[in-house]
């Protein structure tokens, strides 16, 4: 097996980084800049996830020292080469955005308009790279000769849906953790006002609602992908599928993917529908559990597909 744990963890992290950025970008722009903190949180979360993913990828190479060869080649037909450049571009722009945000404090009268326009422009450009990044995690496997990966053109669809779903979920988890730490710091008088980082409970609820919608799309993508494989002309496609459905990977597939990544969070989100996070902590707990299921289930999805394709 040429590709194992470091690869699927990397695909999961890179997809989640792209998905979080994509979701936060939409949440921010569609509300006319109403979710700036969420957008920043997505960028701050995405950079370490992408960087850890790259480190895993390099360590997994047969010759890690030679990874720089990836940066001297631009091969359009190789999804790995394209992915290298997409990842490189996304991280680079994200870091530039962070540097600009940090520099804000040096301007007495707020950020100049030109810089504001630049961040807005770079943020928009990077959402294209985020979409390409999510897509690449699926295309990487789909462009191969392993029947489970290449037997259906819908694998990128499934992986993109999973990337956005896990991305939204990690945003929810991240937002809850930052909010909680802000509360603690306020209580300890370590900061004077509710910091810029606070993400409103309303936004968190909306993210959970959006994730329910994305999970439905992911569920449809999974079913279509499986049906396509079952009818694929590619040799070994239906055998590959049966490894997931009733073969050696059936347990992680049904429990980890179908239940944990899809049905349980969907059920939790529906049960929570229309409720707001208030003094009652139960709603928040349900949203947090649902999000954690999505994040862990997303990893299991990447794992079973990566391992199943090579067995």
């Amino acid at each position: 097996m040429a590709w194992s744990a470091p690869i699927y963890v990397y695909l999961w992290l890179a997809g989640m980084a792209g998905g979080a950025y994509f979701a936060a970008f939409i949440a921010d722009r569609f509300t006319g800049g109403g979710n700036r903190q969420l957008f920043r949180l997505a960028t701050y979360l995405g950079i370490p996830m992408a960087v850890i993913g790259v480190i895993l990828l390099i360590v997994d190479l047969g010759k890690p020292i030679r990874f720089w060869h990836l940066l001297t080649e631009f091969n359009v037909s190789s999804p790995m080469s394209m992915g290298t450049w997409i990842l490189f571009a996304w991280v680079l722009i994200a870091v530039v955005l962070v540097v600009i945000w940090w520099s804000e404090r040096f301007f007495d009268r707020g950020m100049p308009r030109s810089l504001q326009r630049l961040t807005s422009f770079l943020g928009g450009i990077n959402v294209i790279f985020a979409v390409l990044l999510m897509t690449y995690t699926g295309v990487l496997l789909a462009v191969s000769n392993q029947s489970l990966w290449a037997g259906s053109v819908l694998l990128p669809c499934l992986f993109v849906a999973s990337a956005i779903s896990t991305g939204i979920a990690i945003l929810i988890v991240g937002a809850m953790i930052t909010n909680a730490s802000t509360e603690v710091r306020l209580a300890l008088n370590q900061c004077s006002r509710a910091s810029d980082w606070t993400i409103s409970n309303r936004t968190i609820v909306r993210l959970a609602e959006a994730d329910a919608g994305v999970i439905v799309i992911e569920l449809l993508a999974l079913v279509s992908y499986a049906v396509w494989l079952a009818n694929s002309s590619m040799a070994g496609a239906s055998e590959g599928l049966s490894i997931l459905l009733n073969g050696s990977l059936a347990a992680p597939f049904w429990i980890g993917v179908v239940l944990l990544a899809l049905l349980i969070p969907l059920w939790l989100d529906i049960a929570n529908w229309g409720k707001q996070i208030g003094s009652n902590k139960r709603v928040a707990m349900v949203i947090a559990s649902s999000s954690l299921c999505v994040v862990i289930g997303g990893l299991i999805l990447r794992a079973v597909i990566t391992i199943g394709g090579q067995s």
Partner: protein
């Protein structure tokens, strides 16, 4: 004129001379293997075994096929290689061991399961078509050693003629399923076969496909999923919020008036 080798399965007696000659010429180490209930050995191609006689043990009939790199004209391994380590030298598909980073993509992309990653060295390895021999006018070690002429080396065009005629003859002589493999597959293979059974019986794909054949479609499907399909729930949810805030705003403005 491109060279090729023609493997005639009707002549192969599974002596495995090709395996030994390949190991000798390329100085490849032996592998310790286990008895798996078959005379086939080693159990699969590896980074150190670049040609191997595959057995199909059926009652009353054994089929043998030397399995090695096809040196495809349209090579999946070359297409997906992210560092340009895999290239064509004339008809030979060769891995530059100094540029290979050991990412394993060629292993996943090869439709014939030929490329393998060396676990110790870390780079991908496979048959080099004895490029050092053929550029000096000597046939590859496997063809040179083959005692029955089951592996022949020569001009590709000549071997195609020879293979098609041999397949016709075998079909007439009581092997009705005999077929010639490799003329058009993957843009034309440089390892050609006369097969006495369907390719799938010998473990060959009936219709091998280039790994990158539907790549554009796969990219587009991913992009559409994100940009169009999955954006909808996010848009629905957050657009609603915008309307709300506008309502609130108008209330505030109304209050000021």
């Amino acid at each position: 004129m491109p060279k090729a080798r023609l493997i005639d399965t009707s002549k192969c007696m599974a002596c495995r001379g090709c395996q030994v000659a390949c190991k000798q010429w390329n100085e490849l180490p032996a592998e310790s293997t286990e008895q798996l209930g078959t005379y086939e050995n080693p159990p699969e191609l590896s980074a150190h075994t670049w040609i191997r006689v595959e057995f199909r043990e059926r009652p009353g009939e054994w089929l043998f096929r030397a399995h090695t790199c096809m040196h495809c004209t349209d090579a999946s391994c070359e297409k997906v290689c992210p560092t340009g380590a895999i290239s064509h030298q004339e008809e030979v598909v060769i891995i530059d061991q100094k540029t290979c980073i050991g990412c394993g993509y060629c292993v996943e992309a090869c439709p014939f399961h030929v490329v393998h990653k060396d676990e110790v060295d870390g780079t991908s390895r496979k048959c080099r078509f004895c490029i050092d021999r053929i550029t000096n006018g000597i046939e590859p070690a496997c063809a040179k050693t083959c005692p029955t002429g089951a592996i022949q080396f020569g001009e590709r065009a000549d071997l195609i003629d020879m293979g098609i005629r041999k397949a016709q003859k075998l079909r007439a002589d009581g092997f009705p399923k005999t077929n010639f493999y490799g003329e058009d597959e993957m843009g034309g293979l440089h390892t050609l076969y006369v097969l006495t059974e369907r390719p799938s019986v010998y473990g060959l794909p009936e219709a091998p496909e280039l790994a990158t054949s539907a790549a554009l479609t796969k990219w587009l499907i991913g992009l559409v999923t994100a940009g169009v399909v999955a954006a909808v729930p996010l848009w629905l949810v957050f657009r609603r919020k915008k309307q709300l805030s506008e309502e609130q705003q108008s209330k505030v403005e109304g209050g000021v008036k």
